[in-house]
């Protein structure tokens, strides 16, 4: 039985995610694009980088869209970066792309937060510190203000502010982590965030959702 399925849709560096999960003690980590393997996994990690449009078409090609919806409804489910953005209803990139619509809200470009007074470099790249908004089992053992590694040009604007678990600051405050029921999603990369990130992944592999 697959312990953790790391969804592979051909974008970005998935090896680091699998290695980080193994490093914190996860067993049977499989990097896969196979819908049946994903459906049978105890936990699902949905990582990724790049653009929502490419992500959605890759998911379609691999026939992963339905299974992602099903597992996100009942298994501990971790979305990371693009895997967070793709959970939302819609992204404004490429003049509007429908996403998985598992959580209500949209994905917006940082240029909206860039002003003549404060010109933002895009992507938002590097270490930023989190401000907790809500308690969550996955924050256990992580200090307030902990630093995490981000790299993204778009950010998530949830329709329901109760989804927001943590915020970070870049031009304005944006959602750094969101969650609902058994879904937990981060804009930052826990697999690249040293001790704090590893702790979050360790919390995830012990979380019942």
């Amino acid at each position: 039985m697959t312990g953790i399925a790391v969804i592979d849709y051909g974008m970005g560096n998935l090896r680091s995610m699998a290695k980080a999960l193994e490093y914190v003690g996860a067993r049977n980590v499989v990097v896969t694009a196979d819908a049946e393997t994903v459906a049978r996994a105890e936990r699902v990690v949905f990582p990724g980088q790049g653009a929502v449009r490419d992500c959605m078409s890759a998911l379609q090609r691999s026939e992963l869209i339905d299974v992602l919806g099903q597992t996100a409804a009942k298994r501990p489910f971790l979305g990371v970066c693009m895997g967070m953005q793709a959970l939302m209803s819609v992204s404004e990139e490429n003049e509007g792309v429908r996403a998985l619509d598992l959580l209500p809200g949209s994905v917006r470009h940082f240029r909206h937060l860039s002003t003549a007074h404060q010109k933002l470099k895009i992507p938002h790249m590097g270490w930023n510190s989190l401000c907790w908004v809500r308690e969550h089992p996955l924050w256990k053992g992580i200090e307030a203000g902990a630093w995490f590694y981000f790299v993204h040009s778009y950010y998530v604007a949830p329709a329901d502010e109760h989804l927001v678990l943590a915020q970070a600051e870049y031009g304005a405050t944006f959602a750094a982590a969101i969650g609902k029921d058994n879904i937990f999603a981060t804009q930052f990369h826990p697999e690249k965030s040293q001790q704090a990130g590893l702790r979050l992944l360790e919390n995830f592999i012990r979380w019942d959702g």
């Binding site: 560096n13 490093y23 938002h124 790249m125 270490w127 040293q194 590893l198």
Partner: protein, 257 residues
């Protein structure tokens, strides 16, 4: 709080071994990339850059093994550069565990590689490395030209315009090296760094010339760099990463500590 300025040690790797040596107290093997990466991770480095200076093509695959080994143990961003020519090279390194790939000569020879790579793997993975050398007369307005092939070949390209173009074409970051300052320990070329940083719209890593901690501060405050790259000042134990961060924080620069 907000986005921290990054400190990035850079390691030159030849045939799988770190060259020039790195002196850490607890390090037995000064050439072992995994041990060095582990030490820098522990010391608080924000990212690592591995520059493959392997001359022979046959030995290039050793870099893949280095990246695999480092990425299995060190969970901070890894950038790999040196000799990358094709999309297949980029994919192989990403699959081995690299997070970002720095392209230099190939970007000049085939600019469409940057666009294509950014489309396929995302801008966040693509760093364009720009080696720049001042070509203007002392009293004239400053101008810098882009050099390729490890700084051996001049081009007609203006470094500021080229950096901007690369960002527009899909580079997610510019790794900017002043060839005039590289190895001098006289500090970064701040005019160059500032011109590129203001023009490019993407994060800029300042490189070439860092000789003390004040240079790092200048790179950020006067050069407007988003990250500072340094080799010798850390490798030979002159300063620790934490000392650098402490001094930067004293100067009101946001750093991860």
């Amino acid at each position: 709080m907000g986005l921290a300025k990054r400190i990035i040690p850079c390691l030159d790797v030849n045939a799988g071994r770190v060259v020039k040596g790195v002196r850490f107290v607890d390090l037995r093997d000064a050439g072992d990339p995994v041990a060095i990466a582990r030490e820098y991770d522990r010391a608080g480095a924000d990212e690592l850059v591995f520059l493959d200076i392997t001359a022979s093509h046959e030995q290039r695959d050793t870099m893949l093994h280095v990246v695999e080994a480092v990425a299995s143990e060190v969970f901070i961003p890894l950038t790999v550069g040196g000799g990358i020519r094709t999309l297949a090279d980029i994919r192989r390194l990403l699959n081995a565990g690299a997070d970002k790939i720095a392209i230099n000569t190939a970007a000049v020879e085939h600019p469409q590689l940057v666009t294509e790579a950014a489309t396929r793997v995302g801008s966040q993975c693509i760093v364009v490395a720009v080696d720049a050398k001042r070509v203007s007369e002392a009293i004239a307005p400053p101008r810098w030209s882009v050099y390729t092939h490890g700084g051996r070949r001049p081009t007609e390209l203006d470094a500021v315009a080229w950096s901007r173009r690369m960002a527009e074409d899909g580079a997610g970051e510019i790794l900017l090296t002043s060839m005039d300052r590289d190895g001098t320990k006289l500090g970064f070329d701040l005019e160059l760094t500032r011109a590129v940083s203001e023009g490019a719209g993407v994060p800029v890593i300042a490189s070439g010339g860092a000789g003390n901690l004040a240079h790092l501060i200048d790179g950020v405050r006067l050069g407007l760099a988003d990250a500072v790259l340094a080799a010798s000042i850390f490798h030979f134990g002159e300063f620790t990463i934490q000392q650098a961060k402490a001094v930067m924080a004293e100067h009101s620069i946001e750093v991860r500590r």
